[in-house]
């Protein structure tokens, strides 16, 4: 790199660990962020002159901590109030930095920072916004654009989230094993939400990068918890889904169904990494929902063509998933595999009992319409497709269904013309 891009990259990569360590010192999210900002400003000056430090995270934590302490002392003098209690572990902060910044500390620091963002008192939209802002350092304006709200509305959302956390009394002691496992699970769920924001909004250039950011954070989580099969599964699932990004939309930005995707456009590097991770995860014999979903995605990734898909394996994996996490949506997905294995009637029989619970669900009527169409029950198929369009969440979804309706109409026209 000939420009100064390397500094930006180093700062981006160091941010989660540095902010997390500063949060442990100051026990205050705003203060930790300010300290990190100050350290970044100083890094821009110092690193240009002296080159990058050997350990950028340690540099940023040390410089950020000292700058914030100076600031606190200055303010304390100005207001003539003793504010020692603000810096709750001042003594603690004096112990040798190198020792404190070693692996285990970082691990719980970063986990705590991520965990704070998925605090149960926060709404899902707040969790995602907070993680992107605080952990990833995505500029406020970009987060606002991704969520289609004004900058000031997003700022308010994040400020409220921080206020809720400040009240929530987050424990700063290192967590025990059971608590740590709970935190990892909560963080994994939050990261998957971030991923889905980007994945489901992939046609929108403001939202698409969120899925890559989620992948980056999942890699970070896995680096901290190298032996957690569900974290492997989560990252594998994200990679295997993201690998299809270039094939998911055509030149008109219309969604392309899995069966019509040009597999040569799938990202081979992401697939390799995803397959390696799911292989690693399975060795642990501790299956979980991310691993099973990743295994399903892996089965698709391993098929050279749609016709080569191992539907029996997919049916089996969905049945395992149903057992772990009973949900009509999972059964609906399983029905697609069953349709391939046993025909549309079997699939239809499987999903009909779900209608009450999925009566507001676009994909239910899309699938129902497709099965009915395959059975030649065109009039009923049309009714199902009409309901799907009414429930579509996006223009792309509606357009997909309209293609089916057009096909039915053409068929009806041809049949009536022939008779």
């Amino acid at each position: 790199m000939t420009d100064l891009g390397w500094i930006d990259n180093a700062l981006t990569a160091a941010r989660p660990q540095a902010v997390a360590a500063l949060l442990r010192y100051f026990r205050d999210l705003d203060r930790a962020e300010e300290a990190y900002q100050e350290a970044c400003l100083r890094a821009l000056k110092s690193w240009v002159k002296n080159g990058p430090p050997r350990d950028p995270v340690a540099w940023l934590v040390l410089v950020g901590r000292n700058a914030a302490l100076d600031d606190i002392r200055k303010k304390a003098r100005d207001t003539a109030l003793p504010e020692e209690d603000i810096v709750s572990d001042l003594d603690d902060a004096e112990t040798p930095l190198a020792e404190r910044l070693d692996g285990a500390h970082y691990r719980d620091d970063v986990l705590r920072l991520l965990f704070i963002c998925c605090h149960p008192s926060l709404a899902v939209a707040q969790q995602i916004a907070l993680a992107l802002r605080v952990v990833s350092g995505v500029p406020l304006a970009r987060i606002a654009r991704a969520f289609l709200v004004s900058d000031s509305a997003m700022e308010q959302r994040i400020t409220r989230a921080k206020a809720a956390i400040a009240k929530a009394d987050v424990p700063f002691e290192p967590p025990g094993p059971a608590e740590r496992a709970e935190r990892v699970a909560a963080v994994a769920a939050m990261l998957y939400l971030v991923f889905n924001e980007g994945y489901s909004g992939a046609a929108d250039p403001d939202r698409a990068p969120l899925s890559l950011e989620a992948i980056r954070l999942a890699r970070l989580l896995l680096r901290l918890f190298q032996q957690e099969p569900e974290v492997m599964g989560l990252l594998a699932l994200m990679l295997l889904q993201q690998a299809r990004a270039a094939a998911r939309f055509d030149s008109n930005k219309e969604a392309v169904l899995l069966e019509d995707q040009e597999r040569g456009l799938w990202n081979g590097e992401m697939i390799s990494e995803g397959l390696a991770l799911i292989d690693k995860a399975m060795r642990h014999n501790r299956p979980g929902v991310y691993q099973i979903q990743a295994a399903i995605a892996a089965t698709h990734a391993r098929a050279a063509t749609f016709e080569d898909t191992d539907w029996a394996q997919i049916d089996h994996l969905y049945s395992v998933l149903e057992g772990m996490q009973p949900s009509p949506v999972i059964t609906l997905n399983r029905a697609v595999a069953v349709g391939k294995l046993k025909g549309a009637q079997a699939a239809l029989d499987m999903i009909e009992p779900l209608e009450d619970r999925l009566s507001g669900y676009f994909h239910y009527f899309g699938a129902r319409g497709t099965f009915l169409m395959q059975l030649g029950r065109d009039a009923e198929a049309r009714i199902a497709f009409d309901r799907a369009i009414a429930l579509a969440n996006s223009v792309q979804e509606a357009a997909q269904i309209r293609q089916h309706l057009d096909r039915l109409q053409r068929q009806a026209f041809l049949t009536s013309g022939a008779s």
């Binding site: 790199m1 891009g5 390397w6 990259n9 180093a10 981006t12 990569a13 990058p52 050997r54 350990d55 692996g103 980056r216 890699r219 970070l220 896995l222 680096r223 190298q226 032996q227 492997m232 990252l235 690998a243 597999r263 799938w266 081979g268 590097e269 697939i271 390799s272 990494e273 390696a276 991770l277 690693k280 060795r283 990734a301």
Partner: protein, 130 residues
């Protein structure tokens, strides 16, 4: 002399590069690779996936992750054939010039077993062919 040029960098940084940045670095490296190939110096080269995808077998125990937790990780390597250490360092300099944040260890090769399989093309496509 056969040397390996072993590339180290902070993988959390390299794997945070945007696609554009990554492609720009690879394009610049590509030009150096072409030149080295023309000069008859460049053998096979590899870029590795992150260490989170690694598995380590040690004393008959399978462990997740890389052999060692280090600040910088082994990201890939080249095999080159040059006259001497100076020439090897010269190649390393050319690579570092276009990829300045990476460190290159120059290490002579003790034994080289060439790829004897007939369907080598399959291997070179394994990663990209899905």
């Amino acid at each position: 002399m056969l040397y390996t040029l072993i590339c180290y960098n902070k993988e959390e940084v390299v794997w945070s590069w945007s696609r554009e940045e990554d492609e720009a670095v690879m394009a610049r490296l590509g030009k150096v690779h072409e030149r080295l190939t023309r000069e008859g110096k460049l053998g096979p080269s590899l870029r590795l996936l992150p260490t989170t995808a690694a598995t380590t077998l040690r004393e008959n125990l399978v462990m997740d992750g890389p052999f060692a937790e280090t600040k910088e990780q082994l990201l890939g390597f080249y095999l080159i054939e040059v006259a001497d250490l100076e020439a090897a360092l010269d190649v390393a300099r050319q690579l570092q010039e276009v990829n300045p944040t990476s460190t290159y260890e120059v290490r002579p090769v003790a034994l080289f077993v060439p790829d004897e399989r007939k369907d080598r093309a399959t291997l070179s496509h394994t990663v990209k062919a899905y």
